[in-house]
Symmetry: C2
Subunit: 324 residues, 2 copies
Amino acid sequence: MSTFSIGIDLGGTNLRIAAFTSEWERRGAITTPTRVQDGPGAVLDDMCTAVHQLVSECGGRQHLVGVGLGSPGPLELPAGRLLQPPNLPGFEGLELKTELENRLQVPVIVECDANAAALAECHAGSGRTSGYQSLCMLTLGTGVGSGIILNGRVWHGFAGMGGEAGHVPVYHDGLLCGCGTYGCLEQYASATAIARAGEKMVRANSRNGFPAVTARSIAEAAIAGDTGSQQIYNGVGEALGIGLASLVSTFNLPLYVIGGGVVAAWDLFAPAMFKELERGSYIYRLTKPENPSVLEKSKTNVLPAELGPDSGLLGAAMLPFFQS
Amino acid sequence: MSTFSIGIDLGGTNLRIAAFTSEWERRGAITTPTRVQDGPGAVLDDMCTAVHQLVSECGGRQHLVGVGLGSPGPLELPAGRLLQPPNLPGFEGLELKTELENRLQVPVIVECDANAAALAECHAGSGRTSGYQSLCMLTLGTGVGSGIILNGRVWHGFAGMGGEAGHVPVYHDGLLCGCGTYGCLEQYASATAIARAGEKMVRANSRNGFPAVTARSIAEAAIAGDTGSQQIYNGVGEALGIGLASLVSTFNLPLYVIGGGVVAAWDLFAPAMFKELERGSYIYRLTKPENPSVLEKSKTNVLPAELGPDSGLLGAAMLPFFQS
């Protein structure tokens, strides 16, 4: 039997657990609803039951490298304590790492879910394909998460909160964000922001025949030729371009990856994103892939994520392998 | 005799050379005009003459650790090649490192001047005083330079252009910058930007009695109670606050240092800077020094530089000591 690790993806809706080999092959997976209303104890029990089942299916504890957990933030790391997760009411202060280690008697590494997704993209997605071991990934979902990987490892900044790129200011005096600030990237490029802009458009135009307004339905309308919906995705691209211009000017990484559910609409937002990034960053203009005078190693690449919604789960399972 | 190194600060106006011990004590200094019009050969000759003189004054070559050179950018590093320095016409493509090493027969390390200044602030200025070895320094002068120090060493990003924070976008669709982009921090917080805003104010108000318009004269007028001049410095502070909010949200460093000539007006721009930074970054609100619930090691500090205009020269001399 080969060695394996177990990843846990703790979401506000679903709890997903899977075993992976060191070659990132999946050996087994369990998905169950997250029993938020039953409290932290019930959710921890569900995690442990699934871990025990997978360990047994994969040949037993002697082959288990460790358990990695990807959790919504904000988190205290490496202590693995939940602070005030907006989608997990009643879980404030939960000691995820300590509680799981006590129950499982194996080492558990807790990481922010967006960082886990970025780690997976680095080692098994667009990073592996393009040959870069350092990247910044923006995950466009309910919010805009971000993770930074430097030389193959998660970068935590200095106070443990590095890489909150969803809260980079893109429009001064822009829309109010849940974090209390105005004009954050998250207010323009998340699925929530797209749906909100879509609802506003539908109301303004009294277009009652429009289907249920989601980021996906707006994308479908845009593909079908609806100009209002196309403008919404242009706005997503412009905000991403401004945010990326900030990141490129400071971090100067070789690879920026756009993931999350919204990336399915890459063709709708990418033209405006690249236009704005070119306009907003002279470093990007100097280092863009189309520039023939730039060395390959100095190029700045912006690519869609290759892994789908499972990247957070795989990244969580990778954590024990990158522990040392 | 103790060991020493020699720093060279190559400016568009002055060429400064000085010897320092490993305790950062100055042992001798030479300043001469930069003979830009006589071409690179003349300037290299002046550097070498000064280096030879200082080496002889400091006890000879056997005690020399190396030579460090701080140069305006853009530079190719570590090769030490000048690209297209706007203030050194005719110096395009100059191989600073190779030319100096051939003439001096000692190792030469070339660094961007803003990075050299940040290194000096880290080891001999506000970094030493506050106990932090990682910082980002913004140098507000003719332009806005920036340098990032991580764990005591210069951070170059990945394509060698990390930390161009002067070109972080702060106002979308703002003023056109020399880099070709609109709304860069440099267009709001440099001495040039302050003087330009001052000239505009003087013209608009037909205030012909106003003294020669410089960043300093505007500061003096602001201190004397001139509200228009105070508003200009409020604008500097607001732009700095927006730029810092981007940096704090991505890098999450413990220390941000504001230096350069404009920092003499700290009291004029700092209130607006902190107000905007608080407004623009929830991470700053969580980690500001006044927040009693934050651990000391997790705090985000923004401080004025402690070293004056010599920080670039000292930082250049530090480079050989941090070579290994």
